[in-house]
């Protein structure tokens, strides 16, 4: 056991950079996913079939083919066509596109859950479409989206462990190294899973805070109890990425 601890202490410097790589993938992937989600989410509810059709196809494509296949395809096959990306970029692009497709459904569902009266009131005030969405509709939809986006964020973090197999030195790589050094699977993987759990916990905490803030801005929030902020809310599956029903 003391050998284990010694190995753990020796590997701490590497842990810092490994966490950074995992966070880079998670934050970078989430940012790209959000961008993809906004484009496809709004695209899939426009009236023009020329926008809606391709948006739906792209969403179904990235949802339907596995993340594992996507990441390795980008890594092994894409270079054949002359696009060579760094491994980190491959991971971010794969995570961003895959979870972006799921998040697009969240965006679409939340936008649709904003009562039509809100659109109509904005029209009655002669507010232009872009401004209408940005100032009136999106802030309301945002509050509805956050819990599901939080869930996708955790899924994305978990998915990032794949990057180890495309040469990235992320947290999973660090676990693997520690296991080699200690020859103690239970210790190394146990510590490693705890690290993932702590990262996930902090991300969830941040999203809970964002949700409380968004609700408060709609005048619906109460002062959040500590339990609400620090507690882990039950997640919604990535597959059930549609908002059911409207807001009351």
């Amino acid at each position: 056991m003391s050998d284990d601890l010694q190995a753990l202490i020796d590997s701490l410097p590497n842990l810092g950079s490994a966490v950074v790589v995992t966070l880079e993938m998670t934050i970078g992937g989430a940012a790209l996913a959000m961008l993809v989600a906004l484009v496809l989410g709004f695209g899939s509810r426009t009236r023009s079939l020329w926008v809606r059709g391709p948006s739906r196809v792209v969403i179904e494509f990235f949802r339907g083919t596995s993340l594992v296949v996507q990441i390795f395809w980008l890594f092994y096959v894409l270079p054949v066509f002359g696009f060579k990306m760094e491994a980190l970029a491959v991971a971010i692009v794969a995570l961003g596109l895959n979870y972006g497709a799921y998040a697009a459904e969240v965006v679409r569902g939340s936008i649709e859950s904003v009562p039509t009266g809100q659109w109509e009131a904005a029209t009655a005030l002669n507010i232009g479409t872009f401004h209408k969405v940005r100032r009136v509709i999106f802030p309301q939809a945002w509050a509805l989206m956050i819990p599901q986006l939080a869930n996708l964020l955790i899924q994305l973090l978990k998915g990032s462990a794949l990057a180890f197999y495309i040469t990235l030195h992320d947290v999973y790589w660090w676990i693997d190294e520690l296991q080699r050094d200690t020859r103690d699977t239970f210790f190394s993987y146990g510590v490693g899973l705890v690290i993932y759990f702590v990262i996930a916990y902090i991300l969830t905490w941040g999203m809970n805070w964002a949700e409380e803030r968004a609700k408060r801005r709609l005048g619906r929030g109460t002062r959040p109890r500590l339990r609400d902020v620090f507690g882990l809310k039950p997640g919604v599956p990535t597959e059930i990425a549609r908002v059911k029903g409207g807001v009351a």
Partner: protein
Amino acid sequence: MNDDAIWNWDTAWDVLPALLRGLVVTIEATVVGMVIASILGLLIALAMRAPTRWVRAPLRFVVDFIRMTPLLVQLVFVWLLLVDVPPLVIGFGVLGVHYATYMSEVYRAGIEAVPRGQWEAATALNLPKGRTWRAVILPQAIRNTLPGLGNYAVSMFKETPYLFAITVVEMYQAAQQYGALNFSYIEPLTLVGVLFLLVSYPTSLLVRRMEARLA
């Protein structure tokens, strides 16, 4: 066939049988995994209704821990620990337990969605507690959980390629092996993607229809 072409149909035909064998393993893992997840998930959901916090709190922690850490790492962890167990069996078990934590939430929501009046009616009829659960609550709750179950089956199907990490020759691993042997990844990897799409898209359409019907 032109050797310079990026896509080679001969290679594609050559690899297809191996991929289809992999697909069978993939589907097997999904079915067994979902059976475990469905049963264990229900047990977790029921245990979470235990009257004492001494049961609920630790269970909550374990469920959150499993739910919020990577499936991939969990798979390899258990595989390294249990060297004598066949990898595919480990795959069944870890997929099943991981998804049981998701399914427990689906059951919880399904149970909570049963109207209060149903409990009250059962009390008014003086039904014993066990009978109330079996004959009144669970049948309705499980109906509510069917779309969730379907969605997770599709989701698990797409996560079975993680089993490559523990040497199970599912679809992705079959493609990988072929690619390494023949120095050609394009056809096998692309076909794997296509096969995933061919199975998961129609299935998720079915689930969505079921969802719409039950909503």
